[in-house]
Every structure is written in C-alpha cells, then in structure tokens.
Amino acid sequence: MNVIIQHMPVNILSIWFNIMGWGMIILWIIIRYRKQKEKPAIWKAVLAALAGIISFSWNMMLMDMVVRIAVLPLGVWILHFFLRKHRYEIYCQYAWIGFWSNYIFLAAMLLSTMIHSVMYPINNADTYLANVEQAVLIPTHPTAPQAVLHPKQLRSLIPKLEQAEDQTYTWYSQTSTKGKPDYQMERFPYVVINTHARWGSGLQSMVYLERDGKGLLITTEKRQFYYRSEEPLVEMGGGE
C-alpha cells in the first residue's frame, strides 16, 4: 500500500490549491447567505453559484501553460434572462460568486505552479530521478551496446549529473543522413524504465540513456532535459 502511494504521480500542490479554492468559494457563499435578509433555499443558492461559473473565456499562454481568463459572465446573464426581477435579485450575488470563482481557480493554479517550480526544480535531474531502486535498462535500438544498469551505481551518480547543452538538431541529422559516420546509429538506444519523480510532484517522464552510457535525456510532455556525467551511469559491456 505504502509503495503504491509513494509512486502515484499526483501533483499534491495542485490538489491542495484546488481544495483551498473550493473552500474559499464555500466560505464566501456562507458569509453572503448569513448576511442576506430574504434567504433562498441554500441548495438553490449553490446551484446559482454553479451556474455563475459558466462564462465566455479567453485562452492565453502564461508560464508555459494555457490559462482561461473568464470575460463574459454567461451564467449570470442566463439567470437574469430566466428569473423574474425580484428572484434574480435574491440569486444574482451567488451567480457572481460563481463567476469570480473562475479567478480564484486561476490564482490557485498560478500559485501552485510557482510553488511547484520552487519545490520541484524541473532542471534538476534529481526531481525526475528521485527513486531509481527498481530501474531497468531496456535496449530500444539494435545498435545499443551491451550494458547493465545497477540501481546503486546510478543512484550515487545522479547528484553529480550536470545539465548540458542539447544538440537536438545535430543528433538528428547525424543519424538520419546517409553518408554520415553515425548513419542509422541511434544516439540514445536505451530507455530506463521504472524510475519515479519526487513524491507529490506529479511529474512523469521518459528517460533515455546515451550510447556511451554517460548521458541522460529526460523527456516530459512539455520539455526535454539533457544531463551528462563524468563517469558511466551503467556498466558498459557488462553481462555476457
């Protein structure tokens, strides 16, 4: 059980801030409800708030992700259209809470992302390779030299990994162009499976090992990081 929890790729910051967001909205509704003289049924107030979330929004890129900025309060307008004037006045404030909750969640998301980048620095190999106890090396190309991975050896070398400049285009062209010495020789002919990122980061990656055993290429959905080590990370030419 413990093992399962440890390895679940959940982003605890994201979950925590989401819960905080909902908590704030609920609190806001309760405070409004108490102050109101002519009280509607509480479930109807909640429904009005939920309807208020509906909005026409504008998507933009911010901090490497797409965020939604609510612009037009469609939910509020819908209530305005369907309710008689008196009843609308009772419910409209809840609908507005719903509309502003879009911004509460937006703030929660930005905050959690900022804290995430401090707690789990993404250009640090240790973030992605926090646990390599069960790591297994899989040769994924016929040109992969014989190699054996020892988790302890890999573990001890991870702190010494240095981020290096990737040469993505060179790697590609050298192995894909006829006549080049490395033609059809894959530069990263292994995948290291069963590695786990730091707990609570929610990060998942694909880890490739370089042909000389000294380079790691870590790929996530958004980015790629390249690390080099002085010593080989695996035992080259081992096994048979």
Binding site: M65, H116, T140, Y172, M185, S205, Q224
Partner: protein, 246 residues
C-alpha cells in the same frame, strides 16, 4: 399501514433487481463452452460467404474472447473473432486474410491487445518479426528543442511449424508503451490544460522472413476483405520493408 406496504414493495423490488443483476454478472463471467467445430464452421461460413473447410485451432485468449484461425474452401487463410456476450458466443468479425492485426479487447489498455495472424503455409514464411517502432524526430520552438530517439524493438515468432497464432504484446513493449503514455500526459500543474505536441507515435509492424532469414513478400496473405458483424476494435499491423529498418 400503507407506509409499511410501500416500504416492503420497494425493498422487494430492490432485492429482485439485485438478484437479477447478480445472476447476470455470474452468467456473464462464466461463459458456456465454446461451440463445437461444426457449429463454429457453420456460423463463420454463413458470415464469410465462403464455406469454411477447416478450423485450425480454437485459441482462448481469456474466458470471454476466442480467436479461430481457419481455412476456407477456396484456400483462404482467415480468422474469426468470437466474444462471450449477453449469454452466448457471438462472432464479432471475420478476416478473410491472415495478415497480422491487433484485436484491442480494451481500447486504451495495451496489455489487453492481442496480436493475431494466420499465414498461408505455401507462402514460405518461416518466421515473423514483429517490430515496435517509432521514428526518430526533431522539433523545436523558440524556447525548447526536443529530440525523439528512434525505437526499434524486435520480437520474433516462429511460423515454420505453426503458421497462425494469437499472442499478447511482449512485457517489455508494454512497459515502454506505459512509460510513453505517462510521459505524454501533462501533470505538471492542472491537467485541464492540454498542450499540442507534434511527436510521432509508436507503431507495431511486421516483417515476414523465409527460412534463410530473407524478406518474403506474403502474396498469399495480403488479399481479401473482412466482415464486421458487431462493434469490435481492431487495428491493422503494417508490413515494413527491410530497408526501413536500421
């Protein structure tokens, strides 16, 4: 009094529903034996519009899924897919040709995908090499560059003694597919926000080999159609040229 009657009625209705549901679950999970060869030949022949001459084997994938490679009277090597569904064995699909394909029992779960083939033995194919492949690619944006290494993993299946088969994907392939799926799912922050990535995806290919290890074009295996009898998820496995290998 009336209240009690109502409650009793409601309770008994619920109990009856639960019993029906449990019975259904039990029958659904305890399939009857697969039909006899004669019965299966008859049903597949009717759907195939060609008389089935012989069933080569009845391959049980699990309790509820059966693969039946067959030979028809005009010497086609085909495959029937059967599933235990609503209390009977149903023929889901007939493939008139035995070129390899994937039957996805559960669409999203690669460990449920079954590789199936039925080669014409006169085709001189003595082994089939299955490949898990992904093209090498390179792409960049203003900020980040990405290099995607090539993947080329081989799994050889002997076809000299038995020219048909149905297998699950090798364990190593499944682990790679799982890792690749996980790494491509954004979970860096709120996962509501999708992002576009132009990466090429992993494919499964096949290459027929002769006894001498050379590529043989499976001319007896690539012609023919298929009949889909009800919803079933399959996907083709494409043949590759040896020149496309590294």
């Amino acid at each position: 009094m009336l209240q009690k009657k109502k409650i009793a009625l409601l309770l008994s209705a619920v109990i009856i529903l639960v019993i029906i549901r449990a019975g259904y679950m039990y029958l659904d999970h305890h399939p009857k034996p697969f039909p006899s060869h004669e019965a299966a030949v008859g049903e597949m022949g009717r759907s195939n519009k060609n008389v089935i001459q012989e069933i080569l084997e009845v391959i049980h994938i699990d309790d509820a899924h059966v693969v039946v490679p067959f030979v028809s009277e005009n010497n086609e090597y085909g495959i029937g897919l059967w599933k235990w569904e609503v209390f009977s064995w149903k023929l889901k699909k007939i493939e008139q040709r035995g070129e390899p394909f994937l039957w996805k029992l559960k669409e999203k779960d690669p460990s449920s995908h079954v590789l199936i083939w039925n080669m014409n033995p006169s085709g001189q194919i003595s082994a089939i090499d299955y490949y898990l492949m992904r093209e090498r690619s390179y792409y960049g944006t203003d900020e980040h560059n990405t290099y995607q290494p090539r993947i080329q993993l081989k799994h050889r299946v002997d076809a000299s003694t038995k020219s048909y088969g149905a297998i699950q994907l090798p364990e190593v392939w499944l682990q790679l597919l799982e890792d690749e799926r996980a790494a491509n799912r954004s979970s860096e922050s709120f996962s509501l926000f999708s992002s576009f990535s132009p990466r090429s995806s992993i494919a499964i290919n096949w290459l027929p080999r002769s006894a001498a290890g050379e590529f043989v074009f499976p001319k007896h295996t690539v012609n023919g159609g298929s009949y889909v009898l009800s919803d079933v998820s399959t996907s083709p496995v494409y043949i590759i040229d040896p020149h496309d290998l590294e």
